[in-house]
Amino acid sequence: MKINIPVSKARQLALHHTMKLSESTIAKTAIANNFLTDFADVLLFIHHFMKETFSRKLEIKEFFRQCFAIGYKSLPLISVTGFIMGFVLTIQSRPALVRFGADTLLPGMVAVSLIREMGPVITALICAGKVASGMGAELGSMKVTEQIEAMEVSSTHPMRFLVVTRVWAATFMIPLLILYADGLGIIGSWFGANIKGDVSLVLFFSQAFSHIGFNDLLPAVVKSFFFGAVIGMVGCYKGYNAGRGTESVGKAANSAVVLASLLILIVDMIAVQITDMLPV
């Protein structure tokens, strides 16, 4: 349970002590308390998620329904995003490569950029906007309209039915969407390259893939799973812990996007550091 200690309450508590505290110290104490209770809430949520994941049977029908909603229904958006990513990257980097007479490296450069960094991060950020906000809003409105409580009194654990299925569906679907976006990005790049040149699709693809190694693909795929887990977990956490009013539904959706996007960038930064330490 979240306990927000207002400044006035913290001030009252402080008055019981002989030590005189300044206004700013009291305010900081209240903020620190709220931060700690929020942090404890997150840990409890993860603990319940793990417990429900490993101690009970997965709601398989709901899991596939979520896979469909997260994966299949995101395809149009991810298709456009992936294509434009590759197309724009090619148009922007071509002049610089031509200046150094390295335009034959264009397919390889685009493929490595897309697969290692741009594909995973941009697709994950787009999914944070679509999937995490959707989860935050859906679970938030379910809470406001007592649907989560209705589930609980029907002897169904909402954490297992709503959260576990969504988090795992996001964890498995986001990497697939990222790989799909990478593929479409390379096709977009081929279109971009053909505006001012004439390269066959087969030659473009073979040149692109000749520059991609195991060390490029594996870390990108691994971090994609983490991006998916972050999107699912943040979306569900924000929705599940939404307040009682309708305003809280909007807040849950909004904060889910912001926090998921931020965490994706942080996870990416950590992943890049770890990848950098790996032997080439």
Partner: protein, 260 residues
């Protein structure tokens, strides 16, 4: 402060003690922060009766029934449902007790993403796990006919009116044949005609399914139609207890304020 008359109502109610109690609440206390919502609250629900709990908004009525199904944990006291104290049960045992209780939420709480049929299947598949598909279909058809909405099977909740949503919620509540039904303000937000229909439906359900019910309401018309016995909650305590005739004859100010 209780008047002499309200004390009298409390004494009269002890006559119903001959029946077996399906819910027995003793000295229940529940607070939110410094606000005490229920103070040493005690209540018995007898087998087969409709007990109406009256009270102003914020008097602790909804908190009471949420404590009974374990959606809220009480601070102290005991709540025995079919002899089992829900305040001390683990989740598994609490789930078993919940399977014997139907809960009609104030908002209906139909699952927006599911059709009416899927809404009714949801508790059935989880609680009556032994049923085959044809038995499930037959059960759904039966309860929909009982609430007068047999043709709503494939509709989404968004396509239903307020009264229809309440009826479907009621169908979802009774589909698992609960021994006890808890109604949280079943007629709130409905027009007088639909409110009366829902109240009459509650009586029909009681007769057909032989369930014991606690009906939380501040709708006097609903109380008149459904109540075998009433209690009035005031500041987290039982203020008065009796039957509808006793309440209507009462000259106590607090009670009269409700029955004008």
């Amino acid at each position: 402060m209780k008047t002499e008359e309200t004390e009298l109502l409390l004494v009269k109610s002890s006559k119903s003690a001959a029946k077996e109690a399906v819910i027995e609440i003793t000295d229940l206390c529940k607070s939110f922060g410094t606000q005490e919502v229920l103070k040493n609250f005690s209540l018995k629900l007898y087998d087969g009766e409709n007990l109406v709990v009256l009270g102003k908004s914020g008097s602790g009525k909804s908190v009471l029934i949420k404590c009974i199904v374990g959606l809220l944990r009480s601070d102290s006291g005991s709540i025995k449902v079919f002899g089992q104290d829900v305040t001390s049960l683990n989740m598994k045992d609490l789930d078993e007790v919940r399977q014997k209780i139907g809960f009609l939420f104030q908002s209906g709480a139909l699952y927006d993403s599911m059709t009416v049929k899927e809404n009714l299947e949801f508790p059935l598949r989880r609680i009556k796990t032994h049923l085959k598909q044809n038995e499930i279909d037959a059960k759904i058809k039966e309860v929909l006919e009982n609430v007068g909405l047999a043709d709503a099977l494939n509709k989404m909740p968004s396509q239903l009116s307020g009264g229809m949503r309440k009826r479907i919620s009621l169908a979802r509540t009774i589909v698992v044949d609960p021994g006890i039904i808890l109604y949280d303000e079943p007629t709130t937000g409905l027009d007088p005609v639909t409110s009366k229909e829902i109240s009459l439906l509650i009586n029909d359900i009681q007769k057909k399914y032989k369930a014991s019910s606690i009906i939380i309401t501040h709708d006097i018309e609903c109380a008149r139609i459904t109540a075998n016995r009433l209690i009035m909650l005031q500041d987290g305590e039982v203020y008065a207890e009796g039957n509808i005739a006793e309440f209507e004859k009462s000259t106590d100010k607090v009670i009269k304020a409700f029955f004008i």
